[in-house]
Protein backbone atom coordinates (compact mmCIF):
# COMPACT_ATOMS: atom_id res chain seq x y z
CA UNK A 1 0.00 0.00 0.00
CA UNK A 2 1.31 3.45 -0.97
CA UNK A 3 0.28 4.99 2.35
CA UNK A 4 2.57 2.60 4.25
CA UNK A 5 5.58 3.87 2.32
CA UNK A 6 4.64 7.48 2.98
CA UNK A 7 4.19 6.94 6.73
CA UNK A 8 7.45 4.99 6.87
CA UNK A 9 9.31 7.69 4.94
CA UNK A 10 7.96 10.36 7.28
CA UNK A 11 8.89 8.38 10.40
CA UNK A 12 12.47 9.59 10.39
CA UNK A 13 13.80 12.98 11.52
CA UNK A 14 16.51 13.20 8.81
CA UNK A 15 13.98 12.54 6.06
CA UNK A 16 11.58 15.10 7.51
CA UNK A 17 14.45 17.58 7.64
CA UNK A 18 15.23 16.90 3.96
CA UNK A 19 11.57 17.57 3.06
CA UNK A 20 11.63 20.78 5.09
CA UNK A 21 14.70 21.92 3.20
CA UNK A 22 13.03 21.22 -0.14
CA UNK A 23 9.93 23.05 1.06
CA UNK A 24 12.09 26.09 1.85
CA UNK A 25 13.71 25.89 -1.58
CA UNK A 26 12.71 23.34 -4.16
CA UNK A 27 14.70 21.82 -7.00
CA UNK A 28 18.03 21.14 -5.23
CA UNK A 29 20.99 18.98 -6.18
CA UNK A 30 22.31 16.19 -3.97
CA UNK A 31 25.31 18.38 -3.16
CA UNK A 32 23.09 21.16 -1.87
CA UNK A 33 21.05 18.74 0.19
CA UNK A 34 24.19 17.29 1.78
CA UNK A 35 25.26 20.66 3.12
CA UNK A 36 24.44 21.13 6.77
CA UNK A 37 23.43 17.50 7.27
CA UNK A 38 25.77 15.61 9.59
CA UNK A 39 25.81 12.57 7.34
CA UNK A 40 27.80 10.97 4.53
CA UNK A 41 26.76 11.40 0.91
CA UNK A 42 25.78 7.74 0.89
CA UNK A 43 23.55 8.25 3.93
CA UNK A 44 21.75 11.21 2.33
CA UNK A 45 21.31 9.23 -0.90
CA UNK A 46 19.77 6.36 1.05
CA UNK A 47 17.26 8.66 2.70
CA UNK A 48 16.42 10.35 -0.61
CA UNK A 49 15.83 6.92 -2.12
CA UNK A 50 13.23 6.12 0.57
CA UNK A 51 11.55 9.50 -0.06
CA UNK A 52 11.54 8.81 -3.82
CA UNK A 53 10.04 5.34 -3.35
CA UNK A 54 7.24 6.92 -1.33
CA UNK A 55 6.67 9.48 -4.10
CA UNK A 56 7.50 12.37 -1.75
CA UNK A 57 10.57 13.41 -3.72
CA UNK A 58 10.76 13.45 -7.52
CA UNK A 59 13.99 14.01 -9.46
CA UNK A 60 14.33 15.76 -12.80
CA UNK A 61 17.32 16.40 -14.99
CA UNK A 62 18.17 19.98 -15.80
CA UNK A 63 21.20 20.04 -18.09
CA UNK A 64 23.90 18.12 -16.25
CA UNK A 65 22.24 18.39 -12.89
CA UNK A 66 19.76 16.10 -11.18
CA UNK A 67 17.35 18.22 -9.19
CA UNK A 68 15.21 17.01 -6.29
CA UNK A 69 11.66 18.29 -5.95
CA UNK A 70 9.17 17.91 -3.13
CA UNK A 71 5.95 16.24 -4.31
CA UNK A 72 3.16 17.23 -1.89
CA UNK A 73 0.42 15.02 -3.43
CA UNK A 74 0.98 11.92 -1.23
CA UNK A 75 0.86 14.08 1.91
CA UNK A 76 -2.32 15.70 0.61
CA UNK A 77 -3.90 12.24 0.24
CA UNK A 78 -2.87 11.27 3.77
CA UNK A 79 -4.23 14.56 5.04
CA UNK A 80 -7.59 13.99 3.34
CA UNK A 81 -7.79 10.34 4.36
CA UNK A 82 -6.36 10.38 7.91
CA UNK A 83 -6.17 13.90 9.27
CA UNK A 84 -9.36 15.63 8.16
CA UNK A 85 -11.82 13.25 9.74
CA UNK A 86 -10.13 13.26 13.14
CA UNK A 87 -9.66 17.02 13.34
CA UNK A 88 -13.27 17.97 12.71
CA UNK A 89 -15.56 18.68 15.65
CA UNK A 90 -14.46 18.38 19.30
CA UNK A 91 -10.87 17.38 18.52
CA UNK A 92 -10.28 20.53 16.49
CA UNK A 93 -11.93 22.65 19.21
CA UNK A 94 -9.56 21.20 21.83
CA UNK A 95 -6.53 21.62 19.56
CA UNK A 96 -7.53 25.24 18.98
CA UNK A 97 -7.90 25.80 22.72
CA UNK A 98 -4.48 24.27 23.35
CA UNK A 99 -2.95 26.49 20.68
CA UNK A 100 -4.47 29.64 22.15
CA UNK A 101 -3.12 28.73 25.63
CA UNK A 102 0.32 28.12 24.19
CA UNK A 103 0.24 31.43 22.36
CA UNK A 104 -0.76 33.20 25.58
CA UNK A 105 2.18 31.53 27.35
CA UNK A 106 4.58 32.78 24.74
CA UNK A 107 3.30 36.32 24.74
CA UNK A 108 3.71 36.62 28.52
Amino acid sequence: MDDDRVFKALADPTRRALLDRLFARDGRTLGELEEGVAMTRFGVMKHLRVLEDAGLVVTRRSGREKLHFLNPVPIRRIHDRWIDKYTEGPASFLAGLQRSFEEEDRSE
Binding site: R25, R60, P72, V73
Partner: protein, 147 residues
Protein backbone atom coordinates in the same frame (compact mmCIF):
# COMPACT_ATOMS: atom_id res chain seq x y z
CA UNK B 1 8.99 31.95 2.58
CA UNK B 2 9.11 28.99 0.32
CA UNK B 3 10.39 29.42 -3.24
CA UNK B 4 7.45 28.54 -5.45
CA UNK B 5 8.71 29.63 -8.89
CA UNK B 6 8.91 26.00 -10.06
CA UNK B 7 6.38 23.57 -8.62
CA UNK B 8 6.22 19.86 -9.27
CA UNK B 9 3.41 17.42 -8.58
CA UNK B 10 3.32 13.72 -9.34
CA UNK B 11 0.62 11.12 -8.99
CA UNK B 12 0.28 7.44 -9.93
CA UNK B 13 -2.99 6.70 -11.73
CA UNK B 14 -4.56 3.31 -12.44
CA UNK B 15 -5.58 4.27 -15.98
CA UNK B 16 -4.27 4.14 -19.55
CA UNK B 17 -2.35 7.12 -21.01
CA UNK B 18 -5.30 7.69 -23.38
CA UNK B 19 -7.74 7.93 -20.46
CA UNK B 20 -5.47 10.39 -18.66
CA UNK B 21 -5.05 12.45 -21.84
CA UNK B 22 -8.80 12.63 -22.34
CA UNK B 23 -9.28 13.59 -18.68
CA UNK B 24 -6.92 16.58 -18.97
CA UNK B 25 -8.02 17.84 -22.40
CA UNK B 26 -11.84 17.47 -22.38
CA UNK B 27 -14.06 20.01 -20.62
CA UNK B 28 -16.64 17.29 -19.87
CA UNK B 29 -14.00 15.55 -17.74
CA UNK B 30 -12.14 18.50 -16.21
CA UNK B 31 -15.32 20.04 -14.81
CA UNK B 32 -15.63 16.95 -12.58
CA UNK B 33 -12.32 17.48 -10.73
CA UNK B 34 -10.70 20.84 -11.70
CA UNK B 35 -12.53 23.25 -9.36
CA UNK B 36 -15.44 22.92 -11.79
CA UNK B 37 -13.42 24.45 -14.65
CA UNK B 38 -14.29 23.54 -18.24
CA UNK B 39 -10.76 23.17 -19.61
CA UNK B 40 -10.20 22.55 -23.28
CA UNK B 41 -6.77 21.90 -24.79
CA UNK B 42 -6.42 21.73 -28.56
CA UNK B 43 -3.15 21.57 -30.49
CA UNK B 44 -3.20 25.40 -30.61
CA UNK B 45 -4.96 26.83 -27.61
CA UNK B 46 -5.69 26.26 -23.92
CA UNK B 47 -9.01 27.57 -22.60
CA UNK B 48 -10.42 27.43 -19.09
CA UNK B 49 -13.96 28.57 -18.32
CA UNK B 50 -16.00 28.62 -15.14
CA UNK B 51 -19.31 26.73 -14.88
CA UNK B 52 -21.07 29.97 -15.90
CA UNK B 53 -18.83 30.40 -18.96
CA UNK B 54 -16.62 33.09 -17.37
CA UNK B 55 -13.00 33.38 -18.59
CA UNK B 56 -10.77 31.58 -16.05
CA UNK B 57 -7.64 31.82 -18.18
CA UNK B 58 -6.34 30.90 -21.61
CA UNK B 59 -3.12 30.87 -23.60
CA UNK B 60 -1.18 29.18 -26.38
CA UNK B 61 -0.47 25.44 -26.33
CA UNK B 62 3.31 25.13 -26.70
CA UNK B 63 3.57 21.33 -27.08
CA UNK B 64 0.80 18.87 -27.93
CA UNK B 65 1.87 15.22 -28.13
CA UNK B 66 -1.06 12.91 -27.29
CA UNK B 67 -1.13 10.91 -25.08
CA UNK B 68 2.23 11.84 -23.59
CA UNK B 69 2.99 15.50 -23.27
CA UNK B 70 1.08 18.76 -23.10
CA UNK B 71 2.59 22.19 -22.43
CA UNK B 72 0.51 25.35 -22.23
CA UNK B 73 0.61 28.85 -20.85
CA UNK B 74 -1.28 29.61 -17.66
CA UNK B 75 -3.09 32.82 -16.88
CA UNK B 76 -5.11 33.15 -13.64
CA UNK B 77 -8.12 35.05 -15.00
CA UNK B 78 -10.36 33.60 -12.25
CA UNK B 79 -9.08 36.26 -9.84
CA UNK B 80 -8.64 39.95 -10.84
CA UNK B 81 -5.50 40.37 -8.69
CA UNK B 82 -3.83 37.26 -10.12
CA UNK B 83 -4.91 38.13 -13.67
CA UNK B 84 -2.55 41.15 -13.60
CA UNK B 85 0.50 38.88 -13.28
CA UNK B 86 2.43 37.65 -16.35
CA UNK B 87 1.56 34.21 -17.82
CA UNK B 88 3.32 31.15 -16.44
CA UNK B 89 3.69 27.64 -17.91
CA UNK B 90 2.19 24.23 -17.12
CA UNK B 91 3.71 20.96 -18.38
CA UNK B 92 1.81 17.66 -18.19
CA UNK B 93 3.83 14.46 -18.67
CA UNK B 94 2.17 11.05 -18.86
CA UNK B 95 4.39 7.97 -18.55
CA UNK B 96 3.04 4.46 -18.99
CA UNK B 97 4.47 2.37 -16.12
CA UNK B 98 3.57 -0.82 -17.98
CA UNK B 99 1.32 -2.37 -15.35
CA UNK B 100 -1.97 -0.71 -16.24
CA UNK B 101 -0.92 2.48 -14.48
CA UNK B 102 0.47 5.85 -15.49
CA UNK B 103 2.69 8.31 -13.77
CA UNK B 104 1.43 11.86 -14.28
CA UNK B 105 3.83 14.71 -13.56
CA UNK B 106 2.68 18.31 -13.57
CA UNK B 107 5.30 21.06 -13.54
CA UNK B 108 4.08 24.62 -13.07
CA UNK B 109 7.00 26.96 -13.72
CA UNK B 110 8.00 30.41 -14.99
CA UNK B 111 6.27 31.74 -11.89
CA UNK B 112 9.20 34.01 -10.88
CA UNK B 113 7.27 37.19 -11.65
CA UNK B 114 3.87 35.83 -10.59
CA UNK B 115 4.21 35.31 -6.83
CA UNK B 116 0.49 35.57 -6.09
CA UNK B 117 -0.40 32.98 -8.70
CA UNK B 118 2.43 30.80 -7.35
CA UNK B 119 0.97 30.91 -3.84
CA UNK B 120 -2.57 30.41 -5.07
CA UNK B 121 -1.83 27.22 -7.04
CA UNK B 122 0.70 25.73 -4.57
CA UNK B 123 0.09 22.90 -2.12
CA UNK B 124 -3.66 22.31 -1.84
CA UNK B 125 -4.23 24.00 -5.23
CA UNK B 126 -2.67 21.48 -7.60
CA UNK B 127 -2.80 18.82 -4.88
CA UNK B 128 -6.60 18.92 -4.78
CA UNK B 129 -6.89 18.86 -8.57
CA UNK B 130 -4.60 15.83 -8.98
CA UNK B 131 -6.18 14.02 -6.06
CA UNK B 132 -9.59 14.63 -7.66
CA UNK B 133 -8.30 13.40 -11.03
CA UNK B 134 -7.03 10.20 -9.40
CA UNK B 135 -10.36 9.59 -7.69
CA UNK B 136 -12.27 10.26 -10.92
CA UNK B 137 -10.13 7.92 -13.04
CA UNK B 138 -10.03 5.13 -10.46
CA UNK B 139 -13.56 5.22 -9.09
CA UNK B 140 -15.53 7.34 -11.56
CA UNK B 141 -16.58 9.62 -8.70
CA UNK B 142 -16.46 13.39 -9.33
CA UNK B 143 -14.89 15.57 -6.63
CA UNK B 144 -16.74 18.67 -7.79
CA UNK B 145 -20.52 18.44 -7.67
CA UNK B 146 -22.00 19.52 -10.97
CA UNK B 147 -23.94 22.79 -10.71
Amino acid sequence: MSDLSTQLYQVLLRATPEQVWEAITSPDRTRLYFHGAHVENTAEWHTSRGPDGADWGDGPVLEFDPPRRLVHEWRSAYDPELAKEPPSRVTWEIEDTGDGSCRLTVVHDRLDDSPRTARSVSGPGWGTVLDGLKTLLETGAPSVSAP
